[in-house]
Amino acid sequence: MIADLQKDLGKQWVLHAPEDLMVYEYDATIERGLPEAVALPATTEEVAAAVRIANRYGAAVTARGSGTGLSGGAVPCDGGIVIVTTRMNRILEIDPLSRLAVVQPGVINQHISQAVAKHNLYFAPDPSSQRACSIGGNVAENAGGPHCLRFGSTVNHVLGLEIVTPDGEIVDLGGKSGTTGYDLTGIVVGSEGTLGIVTKVIVRLLPKSESIVTLLAIFDEVRQASQAVSAIVAAGVMPVALEMIDKYTMDAIEAALHTGYPPDAGAVLLIEVEGLAEETDEQAGAARSICEGQGAREVQVAVAAEDRERLWIGRKGALGALGRLAPSYYILDGVVPRTKLPDVLDGVYASCERYGFPVANVFHAGDGNLHPNVLFDERVPGVTEQVLELGEEIMRLCVDAGGSITGEHGVGYEKRDYMSWIFSEDDLEVMSRLKRAFGTNERFNPGKVFPTSRGCGEVTSRMRAAIAKVGPGAYV
């Protein structure tokens, strides 16, 4: 199999030595899943060839972009071939008048906005990992980020795709304009690499706004901050981003990055409004009064780009900063209706206290998308199992409040056994029809999204997917 791959891709682009394979056995989590080979194609045809070779030998196929995923999506569950798209990193076309671009899957998310900035356009989905993550990965996970509060997730900004199906066929879905038929583009986005490998993306670009204002509202207590979030949303103020950062996280950020967050606050809200100058004035004013009404002790306003940037660096660098506080963390990704946010957040803190683990909450409060980060030391025996139990309890809180098990990180194989908390047997059966329609190949990114009887490594290792070794390159 390796020889066949080398023939089609070139010897240097097929890795098979153990020390090379280890680099690709995990994503932003440390679950071990060793592939048999790693292929780095340069073209769509090479991707298709690699898939066909895998099929010929009955090997599993797992696609991988930058490897920054938070649900184990790019981790090979069952050996086989990992197909890495990082060499396919060109922006093929920019059409500023039509407001779209055609890009290869390995293009880094932020590079898209950088490339079109001179046309006063940008690509809206902005996951915190955007300096590192690939657009192909964003498509697979339907990535979000702070600005999807107003602008939607990746799926709302993709017009078409070229994919390689599990059977190794190259297919065009959607298009720049006037597409007919079932919305296969909308189906493949967020399908976590189980329906095909994305080899080209047509992205929609938005015009930049005239005015952007970022506010930092400082509260003594988390409860005040979460109530302010609900009040802002309920009042019809429509910020483009509404993030919460708690004290534990801020302490870490300040120690690591010195961005000027206040040292003694219980929580802060990072609120961003965009639009015409008249709108941002009004929305910023409204957001400020609401925060003050909820007890904010101070509301800072940043208008100049450098000041706004400084506030965001803190938010985006939060997870990396947490690495100073503990060797391991478990990131959760629950979503709840906004009105339930204050109670669920209280519940999260209470659960963590009961289990005895510190938790750092830094998340997209405006969408009700929580990211509790539970900090611990996995080297201490028995602690990992407790953390996993705690994680399950927190996810249960979210689902019981009418929410979902994942807002943006994906199901991967970390959460596949929780799918039955929110979907019935019938629901899952209907979803499986889609998988069959795309190709009968059970070896295509196996073990992801759907509960299966087949294990992926050890029994508890499926849960270890979301437990990470923290470092400067970590994002949430």
Partner: protein, 388 residues
């Protein structure tokens, strides 16, 4: 034959492209809908869901039509918490009823205001209807966050959820929206809501060339003015840009000032806004093209009785009095790189053609999906792209 399900004799409103069903069933709830579909699937009876009858003309001629599944009794609100900015309703609810309920909380579901009140939620989703307000409000796929459907084999199943961010599992909402009743019967939907703008203002400008109207619209939208909808249409010898501004009073005032200046700089003259008579033509064709190519396309369409376009999205609708001109329009579309889809026409003109045009990329995947979801081919057979 169906027990306590309300079954009746078909009338005019159940006809689909002139084809009547054998019978009409009007289930009262999800469970009756399930039992009806189980029965129909077992007997191989072709079912077409009928909502408000506003968009029944979309699609190819039905291959078979046994049962009209009236959705009007599956109505009402399931859940509405304005502070969550979401609402869940049953699919037989009309847009008029939905608008009334949400406006009481000063909210709206972003369906295009141009869609008639009589249309049902399920029908608008199945036909994926949007209009000139798409520029600001988006399309149904952008604001639909969850659905429940009854499948061909009578299962009640959920897609998405009730929260605005959700990536659990496959997003089947994207599959059902626009599927024209060929994959499942939509019985419930959850939407994002947005606040009703504090102020709306309609403006109109006359231009002598379509390119000027389009470029004024593009500039206004690109610079972030509060354009909720923009429509360019031909009226007599001129081209009218009709714009609806929406937002706070200050933002609307600023937008009005700027758009008047922009239009004037492009040679436009302000005129009183008036209604656009698109809906009365028996033949409506839709052309989609990349926005920069729109002006040339519009210029070529002089043979059409009525022309209107959404400049930001590159969507153009052509109304024809004389169906004989359809072929000419199709050739113009091809020459200008536009797609050509017949939105409605006399049934006899639909024979032996596919109103959607050539099969799209991934069509064999679509066929496979249809086979998986409706193996007996009982849901709106023949009506969709490629006669699916």
């Amino acid at each position: 034959m169906l027990g306590e399900l309300a079954v009746s004799v078909p009338n005019e409103r159940h006809m689909v492209d002139g084809v009547p069903p054998q019978g009409v069933a009007a289930p009262a709830d999800y469970d009756e809908t399930r039992r009806l579909m189980e029965y129909a699937n077992h007997r191989g009876l072709a079912v077409i869901p009928i909502g408000g009858g506003q968009h029944t003309g979309v699609g190819n001629l039905p291959e078979r039509y046994d049962i009209a599944l009236e959705t009007r009794r599956i109505s009402g609100i399931v859940e509405f918490e304005p502070a969550d900015l979401t609402i869940t309703v049953r699919a037989g609810m009309t847009l008029g009823e939905l608008r009334k309920v949400t406006s009481e909380a000063r909210m709206m579901v972003p369906f295009d205001p141009a869609i008639a009140d009589r249309a049902t939620v399920g029908g608008v989703l199945a036909a994926n209807i949007s209009g000139p307000a798409r520029v600001h409000l988006g399309q149904p796929r952008d604001f639909t966050i969850g659905m429940r459907v009854v499948t061909a084999d009578g299962r009640l199943s959920r897609a998405g959820g009730r929260v605005v961010k959700n990536v659990a599992g496959y997003d089947l909402c994207k599959l059902y929206i626009g599927s024209l009743g060929t994959l499942a019967v939509i019985v419930e939907a959850t939407f994002k809501t947005v606040p009703i703008p504090a102020k709306r203002l309609a403006l109109a400008f006359e231009f002598s060339a379509p390119g000027d109207a389009c470029s004024a619209a593009d500039k206004a939208t690109r610079s972030g003015l509060k354009v909720e909808s923009a429509l360019v249409s031909r009226s007599e010898e001129n081209w009218t840009l009709a714009v609806e501004l929406a937002g706070t009073p200050q933002a609307v005032a600023r937008s009005e000032f700027d758009i008047v200046a922009t239009a004037s700089a492009a040679g436009g003259k302000q005129s009183p806004p008036r209604p656009i008579p698109g809906e009365k033509y028996p033949t409506m064709v839709r052309l989609d093209v990349l926005p920069p190519r729109l002006p040339a396309l519009l210029t070529d369409l002089s043979i059409a009785a009525h022309v209107e376009a959404q400049p930001w999205d590159g969507v153009c609708r052509v109304g024809l009095d004389d169906p004989g001109t359809m072929e000419g329009i199709r050739k113009i579309a091809a020459a200008r790189g536009a797609t050509y889809v017949i939105e409605r026409c006399l049934p006899e003109l639909k024979r032996n053609i596919d109103v959607f045009g050539p099969q799209p990329g991934g069509f064999s995947l679509m066929q496979a999906i249809k086979r998986e979801f409706d193996p007996n081919g009982i849901l709106s057979p023949g009506r969709f792209v490629g006669r699916l």
